[in-house]
């Protein structure tokens, strides 16, 4: 017993628990308000006003939705596999919530002489962890879709599964380019390396593009929302779900968006770093003293992180309300014939650039060369006169 208590106090377990709870709460809060934001953003993009009757500016809309869903009849179709039907949304929610555990939301707080990092858990294979959790995310959708015993749901589930597996590959390869540059699997390390405006986006523009596209696909957002597209599959995998189980599914999508925005921010936009942060921190330390100054600087860093995340979420919505969606085979083509070769090319270019010693110049030169090669190849292809599309 004594060893347990000792371990508990020594390992800052309580502080960690607190931070985990706070991060959870923030994740859930942001996800809840993402549903509101989605409706507002959609409305504003479409020249409408959006929800504005539930509370001021519709701010209570998420609460209204949740309240309604909790007290809606919970319906399990007679033909459905009962346990799996319940397990589906739970898994979805669970995996969605897990993924933000390794994301460093800020630097550290110095409390009582101890340095507490604003991160649920620091593991040296953080990226792999994220990747693993993301790859599990599809289970919720698949199991739920299958268990509903509805053809539309099943089609949705199958689409989700194949889509997620395909895009994971390209995603993984685009991350590997980042890992090659940073030489570590720890998210915190990667963020620290981007200190001072040295963001990875400048080194990995193509990697960023691929990663973003894959993030859209993994979150099942337009243009990759095939598993649930309304006009084809009614509701896709969640056609048969009602009440809070549906709520979980919808909610998980927003949590996933939050998590992938956070990971994107960490990998490509320097996480909690912002230009001139050293200057701000020294000023604050000189003004407020070492501890308080550092803590305030960390808070500002957290603010910068959340700005990036919120912009990421906005971008998700912005794109959703702009573009049409792919067809299943086109989606597969894009994934396998477009993104994976590009990701491999990106890997080669990155490797070459690292070997050459001139990272930045090398990567951009390599990308330029690639574009030139592709255009030359394109212009050399056999051409028909008065060619029409698709003929």
């Amino acid at each position: 017993m004594s060893s347990f208590v000792q371990w508990l106090t020594e390992s800052m377990f309580l502080w960690k628990a607190l931070i985990i709870i706070v991060i959870f709460a923030i994740t859930l809060g942001i996800a809840a308000y993402s549903t509101w934001a989605e409706r507002k953003v959609a409305a504003y993009i479409q020249d409408r006003r959006g929800p504005n009757r539930a509370g001021w500016g519709g701010l209570l809309q998420p609460l209204a939705d949740a309240g309604k869903m909790f007290f809606k009849e919970d319906f399990i179709p007679a033909q459905a596999d009962k346990w799996l039907f319940i397990l589906g949304p739970c898994l979805s929610m669970f995996t969605a919530l897990m993924s933000s555990a390794v994301v460093p939301f800020g630097n550290s707080f110095i409390i009582g002489g101890k340095e507490v990092f604003v991160q649920a858990i620091e593991i040296n294979i953080g990226i792999l962890y994220v990747f693993g959790v993301v790859s599990l995310g599809v289970y919720g959708v698949m199991i739920g879709g299958w268990a509903s015993n509805n053809k539309f749901s099943l089609l949705g589930a199958i689409r989700a599964a194949s889509q997620n597996i395909s895009y994971e590959l390209a995603m993984g390869m685009s991350i590997i380019a980042i890992l090659m540059m940073s030489g570590t699997l720890s998210v915190r390390e990667i963020v620290l390396q981007q200190h001072g405006g040295n963001w990875n986006i400048f080194y990995q523009p193509l990697g960023f593009l691929i990663f973003t596209v894959c993030a859209f696909a993994e979150c099942n957002r337009t243009p990759f929302d095939l598993p649930e597209c309304e006009t084809e599959l009614v509701g896709g995998y969640h056609t048969e779900y009602s009440s809070m189980k549906l709520g979980f599914y919808l909610f998980a999508e927003y949590i996933n968006m939050f998590a992938s925005s956070a990971v994107t921010a960490c990998l490509f936009f320097g996480g909690y770093n912002y230009p001139g942060m050293d200057f701000v921190e020294t000023q604050l330390i000189s003004a407020l003293g070492a501890n308080v100054g550092h803590n305030v600087a960390t808070l500002i860093g957290i603010g910068s992180m959340f700005t990036k995340i919120l912009f990421g979420i906005f971008f998700f919505m912005w794109v959703r309300w702009t573009v049409p969606r792919f067809r299943y085979d086109q989606l597969m083509n894009l994934g396998w014939k477009g993104l994976i070769p590009l990701a491999v090319a990106n890997l080669v270019i990155t490797a070459g650039a690292i070997l050459s010693g001139y990272k930045l110049v090398g990567i951009w030169a390599g990308l330029g060369l690639m574009i030139v090669l592709i255009s030359v190849g394109w212009s050399l292809r056999p051409k028909k006169k008065n060619a029409i599309m698709g003929a």
């Binding site: 371990w7 294979i125 792999l128 693993g132 698949m142 199991i143 599964a161 194949s162 597996i165 085979d329």
Partner: protein, 178 residues
């Protein structure tokens, strides 16, 4: 029994995980619904990954989840979903099949026991033990140094397997692929 309480927390973790692993493994072979089997198997993979973490092999743990739970089992599930699970198949209740399965299992078990008996129990030497064993860097170095040839051979094998799978899956020309 009293000193159970004084065991370090890691022991509790180990015990719980072991029970979970066995539970998952048993569930996999006992459950009638193949989808349930797959889910039990995923539980097993998870607890094995957790064992890896206990052994400080975080990389293996993550890869185990990504590859097995995240990809292979998804494909399993994918295939199972395509099959129509409505009609009960009696194939599994065939006597011949059961006898073959039992014999195979016994043989495998025997081999395992023999090897286990031969295996030496290594004591961990605290002074020379490197905490980095099982970490990515060490793993990578040994894979690409010591075991380069087998590693590359395995990759060639995978490539061949992949090409074969593609050939098998390919339909006749002119058909659209979805």
């Amino acid at each position: 029994m009293q000193n159970i309480l004084s065991l370090p927390p890691i022991w509790y973790t180990f015990a719980i995980l072991s029970v979970l692993t066995l539970f998952g493994a048993l569930g996999t072979i006992m459950s009638k619904n193949p989808v349930h089997s797959v889910i039990y198997l995923i539980v097993t993979f998870f607890s094995i990954s957790a064992h890896y973490i206990l052994l400080n092999a975080q990389f293996l743990a993550a890869v185990n989840i990504i590859v097995y739970a995240g990809a292979i089992m998804v494909l399993f599930l994918f295939v199972i979903m395509f099959l129509n699970m409505k009609q009960e198949s009696d194939e599994m209740k065939n006597n011949k099949l059961i006898t073959t399965a039992v014999i195979t299992a016994l043989l495998l078990g025997g081999i395992l026991i023999i090897f286990l008996r031969r295996a030496e129990k290594q004591k961990v030497d605290v002074t020379s033990f490197s905490s980095q064993t099982g970490m990515v860097e060490v793993l990578g170095k040994s894979l690409y140094g010591e075991y380069l040839l087998p590693f590359e051979l395995v990759s060639v094998l995978f490539l061949v397997a992949m090409a074969g799978a593609v050939m098998l899956a390919k339909r006749e020309a002119g058909e659209r692929h979805f």
